[in-house]
Amino acid sequence: MKLKRVVKVEAERDPAFALWISQTVGGERIRHCLQCGLCSGSCPLSLYMDYTPRRLMHLSREGFKEEVLSSYTIWLCTSCYACMVECPKKINITQLMYALKTRAMQEHFYPKRFAIPVLAREFSRMIRGSGRITESRLVMRVFVKTAIWRLLGFSKLGLRLFRTGRMRLAREKVEKRSDIVTLLNVVDTTRKELAR
């Protein structure tokens, strides 16, 4: 039998991460967290999570970066906002989940071919290219990049959607696509200027 320590110790904290989370949009109030558990109780996905939202809030604000960024919890969040509505301290938990997803993607903290971050990446690429989402194309791109065999399982559904006119392959796009690219680029340059 191999014994494994499950309790975290002070030395494993990353204070810079704790500081970042308390300064990120939505995280300003994280130190007010009472650890009451209403977030976990109201979360429809918490029973599938490795850390429930309550535990994740605590790990985040104490700076356990590895655990937080490699957890499934952040990817399971569907942004249903139940926790945010229930939180007695008005902590914007959903927004924090987004921030954690972004950070996990930037620092490659998720398993390869994991569909949820792949969806986020392909989604944003499609918007940069077309300004709009063509659902059928997005779904296909995600499957190709994650689990192409699963497309077969969707063939029956795809056919039904096609027959009822709900799956259109023609690319949806905005006229002024260059405006979309400019818009996105200017956000990035302005943010960098402000940070300086």
Binding site: K101, S124, T164, V187
Partner: protein, 290 residues
């Protein structure tokens, strides 16, 4: 009455029945809708995890376009409705975000004012059109049809402006005005899993099954929805979600039921796009249709 109309991507794809029935309903009620010119994707709940600030700018472009039109902006898709509202909140709450969004809008020669009023069709039906005016236009009452009203997450959370966050009733009132009977549906604001049926199939399916089971248990003959993703999840995976009990329950946009009551032809309200044929149910309930 006239509104700017923001369809969003889903209403041009899997949610076409929502757009078709919505346009038909408002036409029947004498409300004019003008589609926002050259709108772009709102970013939904996905773009934000890739680039938060960019997602606000994407939503802001639509808001700025609508503000120029000088009319309230109707957003029927629950995700679009949330994202547009949320962007306005964040730009106000965080002046530095507002500054970045302003710069971005400036670069594409759009005005910085994004303070257009974002409205949900249910809000417009209840508060601008009014239930009495709606009742007066009903030609085929949905008498005896038992409907579970499924609101999902994002129409009311976190920025409920015209309905209660925990127990919304706006859809109930609108459909009751058309003669429908609303059944007890305690999971009406629970999550359908969103895109998880695609990314984490087993988890997504469990959430879907729970929503269908509750509808069946409470005697619903149809489920009414306000969100293209909710509608899709609940309709498309009924066979897969079936266990000992089989699910066979029409999942419709609330606007489709309204259209039915207002005498719009089934094919003009997107019923031909349903996986489950509504006609046997209507015949059984002796509900007339055009």
């Amino acid at each position: 009455m006239k509104y700017a109309y923001y369809p969003g991507c889903s209403l041009k794809g899997t949610g076409r029945a929502y757009e078709e029935s919505l346009l038909a309903v408002f036409r029947a009620l004498g409300v004019e809708l003008e589609e926002l010119e050259d709108w772009n994707c709102c970013g939904a709940t996905t773009y934000i995890s890739y680039g938060e600030l960019q997602s606000y700018a994407l939503a802001a472009r639509n808001l700025s376009l609508a503000k120029q039109m000088g009319r309230d902006l109707m957003a029927p898709c629950a995700a679009c409705y949330l994202v547009l509202n949320k962007t306005q909140h964040y730009v106000r709450e965080y002046p530095w975000i507002g500054q970045i969004v302003d710069h971005a809008l400036d670069a594409i020669h759009l005005p910085k004012d994004i303070g257009v009023k974002v409205r949900h069709p249910l809000d417009i039906l209840l508060n601008d059109v009014g239930l009495e005016a709606l009742k007066a236009k009903v030609v085929h009452p949905l008498t005896g049809l038992k409907v579970a009203t499924y609101y999902g997450c994002q129409m009311v959370r976190p920025y409920a402006s015209f309905d209660n966050q925990r127990n919304p009733t706006s859809m109930d009132r609108v459909l009751e005005a058309c003669g429908a009977t609303i059944v007890y549906y305690p999971v009406k604001t629970h999550c359908c899993g969103g895109s998880q049926k695609g990314t984490l199939p087993e988890i997504g399916l469990n959430l879907i099954r729970r929503l269908l089971t509750e509808a069946q248990r409470n005697g619903a003959e149809a489920i009414a929805t306000v969100c293209p993703l909710c509608q899709f999840n609940l309709e498309a995976f009924q066979d897969e979600a079936s266990t000992t009990s089989k699910f066979h329950i029409p999942v419709l946009y609330f606007t489709q039921l309204l259209a039915l009551a207002l005498g719009v032809r089934l094919n003009e309200a997107g019923f031909q796009r349903s996986f489950i044929n509504i006609k046997p149910l209507l015949a059984e309930k002796e509900i007339a249709y055009a």
